[in-house]
Symmetry: C2
Subunit: 265 residues, 2 copies
Amino acid sequence: VTSPVRYRAVVAYLGTRFHGWQEQKNAARTVQAVLAAALRPLAREAVRVEGASRTDAGVHADGQVVHFDLPRRREPRAVRDGANDRLPEDVRLLSVEEAARDFHARFDAAWKEYVYRWSRAAVIAPRDAPFVAPLSPRADAARMREAAAALPGRRDFRVFAVSTPAGEPTVRTLTRVAIEEDGDELRAVLCGDGFLRGMARSICGVLADASRGRVPADRIARLLASGDRRLLCSKAFARGLTLRRVVYEPDRPPEDRPGALHSSP
Amino acid sequence: VTSPVRYRAVVAYLGTRFHGWQEQKNAARTVQAVLAAALRPLAREAVRVEGASRTDAGVHADGQVVHFDLPRRREPRAVRDGANDRLPEDVRLLSVEEAARDFHARFDAAWKEYVYRWSRAAVIAPRDAPFVAPLSPRADAARMREAAAALPGRRDFRVFAVSTPAGEPTVRTLTRVAIEEDGDELRAVLCGDGFLRGMARSICGVLADASRGRVPADRIARLLASGDRRLLCSKAFARGLTLRRVVYEPDRPPEDRPGALHSSP
């Protein structure tokens, strides 16, 4: 009798043509479904792929982490290449390694890093357009930074979440919120132990409006204090958001990770 | 009686879904034809767009330069935005300025810069895949550099050209050939006063084979000395090549360029 073997993989995808991460009953094109279909011939049975983050439609990933089981042990490199041969060009397994039997991509994640990109240029080059949201040329990094200062810490982020089920805990810790300026580009880098549904884009919507002076810099503090969703700005476009990496900490010792090809990016 | 006004524009495009720059009789999707169609409503007549470089199918541009005439003077910014509103998402006018009446994007170009990108990674991320050609993980930057050393200078590059018409001059000057290494990525930056048809990709094909040790480092010197096309390697994939910029030098004095929005990238 052989027991199934668990694998952990780092996955990159362009969110543009996906209806998000999570498999849906209506046969929409989702990353989870496309990965499961590519792994099925390797498993010779249905494969369930769990992701660390259930990214929304249009959101990209440079370093999503997933786990899945195969009924028999296979070389991680053969799993990676076999799946990539079958995947469409907008999703790739960057690396595959064997994981501990109880490794869980979502529950074991220590923290995640998202980046949101805006361009203040009059014209966005075709190369950047799928990854960048437009922003007024008058948007100001200092104002965005001032508004972002209220975010880091352990807080109830419910006001930024979309359709939170009753009873679901909504306290999360944002460990780092950095506003980066690079010529015409502005970026918000958000690191935290978890993100509620819609939270990253709701926050970035307020940051964008604050950078243009359309809402006062204390808007985020007031949102967090009051929980009043009427103070919320419109969500930022999905195309600007990328899940950059998922970090597992304390990471398992190397002897628990045979056949590692790469570490997370 | 009004006389037509000449405009100069910097254009960026993804080559992936274009059959190259040059308009064809068979209604293939070309950058030149798509630009002419987007400008026609602004001119209310047919517009002929001349490009500095006739890039091949699949080749990208970050800074192609073009010129065209409109029957009446219009604000350069209105020309830029009017055309961009009508252009498909894979091509954009980055900037438009009024040009001297006799400015010619191709004949007046002093030099052009192309960059070719290879990745030695086992997996190329979807974000990079349209712009990068795969290369063996064993490819070596030092060997590529050694092979490239024979290129710079004023030489007859006919051996690297595809279907050169009889009598066409084939002497060009390559002013700079730099091999850049950046993690798994290798890049060849080629600057020159002109490139024969197919020349950049033929050169990059030899550079790739030299980096893998498949041809000796003196292959380029022998090709140039002998003109023997049997020593040529296969052309590098179009997707790896990008026209980065076109430089006009000595550039016209500012008083000849009213309404400048941007300089070339």
